[in-house]
């Protein structure tokens, strides 16, 4: 990481940095203070300001070469004003004084256009936050040439193996800060790195992916080798009849399925009667090995330790040994339910309330190898794809397997299998869990990253096969 530039806030005007390192947080604080002053001068009783700064780079490769290579740097300011029981939000990236003043007036004008809301809460005051360290210098200083060289090596492996590689290598930095007119101030910065690779061998394909704050926490070439080896194993896939199978879901496959459960734990979703947990709280609906925590402080998690209103995120035990026990609450949902806010609210105003964004599933001690060794007949699933909710209450999900589906017979992988479509209730699947691996930071394409284990599940329902 380059040394942080000194803050340059003069008379409330912002001088933005010319180099591509995140700004000093004092610059963001100065921006917030300035906008709060503008809001007060414009007649807002109260105001809340968010400033986000992103610095993202992504190198994309296909056909064994980089074909897209992009870089982005930008600021965004979001202003929420409150006056006479009315609130509205305006977002802009125009940071000159006149534009910010105009944004404040727009927020007030938007807010004034609606009926007063007697349930609108006053802004929260100062809060205390637990410190999290999610900024890695090694990620912040990586260059396009570094990414290109790693990609070149992965592509050279593909060429050597007679395969074709495609994927991304992305690195980035994010800084966000918020403050309000009651003195609340919160700030957070992180780095993020991601490597994803698909190796194609004729019609066969396989895939590997990792995501972390620190780029050194994964090995791009090991991921390339893993995808390459599995792609070779996926050649000559045979067609099986659809039906119910025991499945061994690798962590990415498990994540992209269970990731669809997160909004069901929002108190607002239950109040709106659109959660699968309506009438099911306190009941044994999952297997006893399933416990789920929302924990923003888990070492494998990323994200700010506060929510869209600046409330500190709490650790919440959502499911205890198969029984959904607790929900997450925004301030408004908490007041309605006579509970304490848990620090999971979205930026206001919004109609969705809140959601747990840092899910951590309890893991087990069973390795993937042990799951395979103990399976008489089943399917090993690398990845699932295009998952959509078919039935919101029974939580029936449909989707496809992708990039490596393998038949397991008598304790070992015996062949590759053509991809299946599944139509499977998540509630039933989590009731049928037989074994769990250690929980890891999993990365898929359908759900945001969570900490989940590999899962062995019985009677998983595949309804149709595709042509490859």
């Amino acid at each position: 990481m380059s040394p942080p530039r000194k803050s340059r806030v003069k008379n409330g005007r912002v001088a933005r940095p010319a180099s591509l390192a995140l700004s000093d947080v004092r610059l963001l604080r100065g921006m917030i203070d300035n906008i709060l002053r503008l809001a007060k001068a414009a007649g807002a009783e109260a105001a809340e300001v968010h400033v986000d700064e992103v610095l993202d780079d992504l190198s994309r490769f296909a056909n064994n070469a980089i074909h897209q290579n992009v870089s982005e740097h930008g600021f965004t300011v979001t202003i929420r004003t409150v006056a006479e029981g009315r609130t509205a939000r305006v977002t802009t990236n125009r940071l000159d004084e006149n534009s910010l003043r105009s944004a404040v007036h727009s927020a007030l004008s938007l807010a004034a256009s609606q009926p007063a809301d007697p349930q609108l809460l006053a802004l929260p005051g100062k809060q205390k936050y637990r410190k999290v360290e999610r900024f890695a210098k090694s990620t912040a200083t990586i260059t396009p040439a570094d990414r290109a060289q790693a990609i070149r090596r992965a592509c050279d492996l593909a060429v050597k193996k007679g395969q074709v590689a495609a994927g991304i290598f992305a690195t980035g930095q994010l800084q966000t800060a918020m403050g309000n007119s009651r003195g609340l101030f919160a700030a957070y910065r992180e780095t993020h790195a991601e490597f994803s690779i698909t190796m194609l061998e004729g019609p066969a394909a396989s895939w590997a992916k990792a995501n972390a704050a620190n780029v050194r926490n994964f090995d791009t070439q090991a991921l390339a080798r893993q995808a390459s080896e599995k792609s070779h194993l996926a050649v000559n896939a045979k067609e099986l009849a659809p039906g119910r199978y025991t499945v061994i879901l690798e962590p990415a496959a498990a994540l992209d399925l269970v990731g669809f459960l997160f909004y069901d734990f929002a108190a607002t979703a239950l109040a709106d009667k659109r959660s699968c947990l309506n009438d099911r709280l306190g009941k044994q609906i999952f297997g006893p090995s399933i416990s789920i925590l929302d924990d923003a402080y888990h070492p494998l998690q990323l994200g700010a330790p506060y929510d869209g209103e600046g409330m500190p995120r709490q650790r919440v035990l959502l499911v205890d040994r198969g029984v959904p026990q607790n929900l997450v609450y925004s301030r408004r949902a908490a007041k309605a339910a006579k509970k304490n806010p848990t620090g999971h609210g979205f930026m206001l105003p919004n109609e969705y309330g809140e959601a747990p964004m840092n899910l951590v599933f309890s893991g087990g001690n069973d390795s993937l190898e042990k799951m395979i060794a103990t399976t008489e007949r089943g399917l090993l699933v690398t990845r699932v794809w295009y998952i959509r909710e078919v039935d919101p209450y029974e939580k029936i999900m449909t989707g496809m397997t992708r990039d490596g589906l393998f038949l397991v017979e008598q304790g070992r992988v015996t062949s590759a299998v053509r991809n299946f479509r599944f139509n499977q209730s998540l509630l039933e699947a989590l009731k049928n869990v037989e074994m769990l691996g250690p929980a890891v930071r999993a990365s898929g394409e359908e759900a945001f990253e969570m900490v989940v284990p590999a899962m062995k599940i019985s009677d998983f329902h595949f309804s149709e096969a595709t042509k490859f």
Binding site: I66, H73, G74, T91, I396
Partner: protein, 486 residues
Amino acid sequence: MWDLATHCLDVAGWRGATYADVRLMHMRQRDLTTKNGKIGTLAQTESIGLGVRVLASEAWGFASTDRLTREGVAACAAKAVSIAKASALAKRRDVVMVDEIAFIDSWQSPFQKDPFEIPLESQLALLLAADAEMRRVKGVTLTETDMQFRKIDSWFASSIGSRIHQRKVISGCGIVATAFQGEEIQKRSYPNSFGGQHALGGYELVESLELLKHAPIIAEEVVALHSAAQCPQKSGTLILGGSQLGLQIHESVGHPIELDRVLGEEANFAGTSFLTLEKLNHLRYGSDIVNVVADARIAHGPGLGSFAYDDEGVPAQCTDVIRDGQFRGYLSNRETAHLIGLARSSGTMRTESWNRLPIIRMTNVSLLPGSWDFDALIADTDDGILMETNRSWSIDDRRYQFQFSTEVAWEIRGGKKVRMLKNPSYGGITTEFWNSCDAICSAEHWTLWGTPNCGKGQPMQTMGTGHGASPSRFRNVQIGAAFSEQ
């Protein structure tokens, strides 16, 4: 704006770019929602910035910035060139594009009423009134409404001399009633699910939809769904309503014809395509009555895929995709057109924003109307199921095997709609499905539907696409598999 764009191009050239194009974009958006009679979201967003794509060392680089000063855009251009040079470290071939000529033009999408000039109070009043109409129906447990308006100005400049300004005004709105009862959640939406109808146009779109008239209808239907019979599992005749058919076109025609997918450029994320190059002009995609075009021209209609020029400076075109059932054409850009030997790009490079690289996207991929009257089509169907309004959609990563479910269905017996069915779904293999089409309704029943939420690319970009469709009939379709219990 042109000064900054030109300066950016100049700096890119001085730094070693052999080609560069710049998109300077100013985007404004208003989002209004209500839930259960109260305001949900009330927000406005504005974003302005510049993105530059360069070819240096025969490889691509792209950078973007919101620092709209000469210094800021110069730094952005320099960064794009340095990125391109890094790309060259991992290239297998030189980038070559088909020729294109320079255009100097200005274009604005047609609209009658600027939605940003309509008083917010009246927009919110309409949403709250529609919300109230739905809540009047006993058994409805959740009501939601939304409006979204966008105004996008883009200034495109390229090193071959193009200078194109385009302004688009986009409007959309929809309403949803949900009912939870027993162990089931049912939902009905109007005029379409997942945000309603969206089109290139002004507030006249909202007014034309008659939300207050339709609010009680969908509210009654969602309650009725709880006592409706379950959609059977069988192989049979399926009639799709226009909006559902629009999504069917999107997923099983629109995506597989994207040439970047066909050539493997999306293999890691969005997937590839079953439409490999040898199938062009040889594959029987559908039955003889199936004709599909990708038409970005405003003459096709005010769709989310309508424009005058794409984000590579290529004029809007109409491409035959399926003619009389035969597969005829891909969506291409200047680079992929060269790779497969086409003389010109089909003009489908589009970007979500100034900070995103243009990629091949659908324009308006539409099924051309047939000759059937809708009532005659129902009367001609002895035993079938009519499905309307999408509830879920899923298709494999090569776009063969799909499954859709809809909010509601109607059983057809002896040429009449006889009863409502709940939890409808159908699935199949793309080419088998389109070859089973035996009736398409006429232009009178044809609507250019807007899909505002198509995701593609990394970083992810969301794009609006258009899909013209009229209700159509398909034979021997697998129905009801989503709820099968085998």
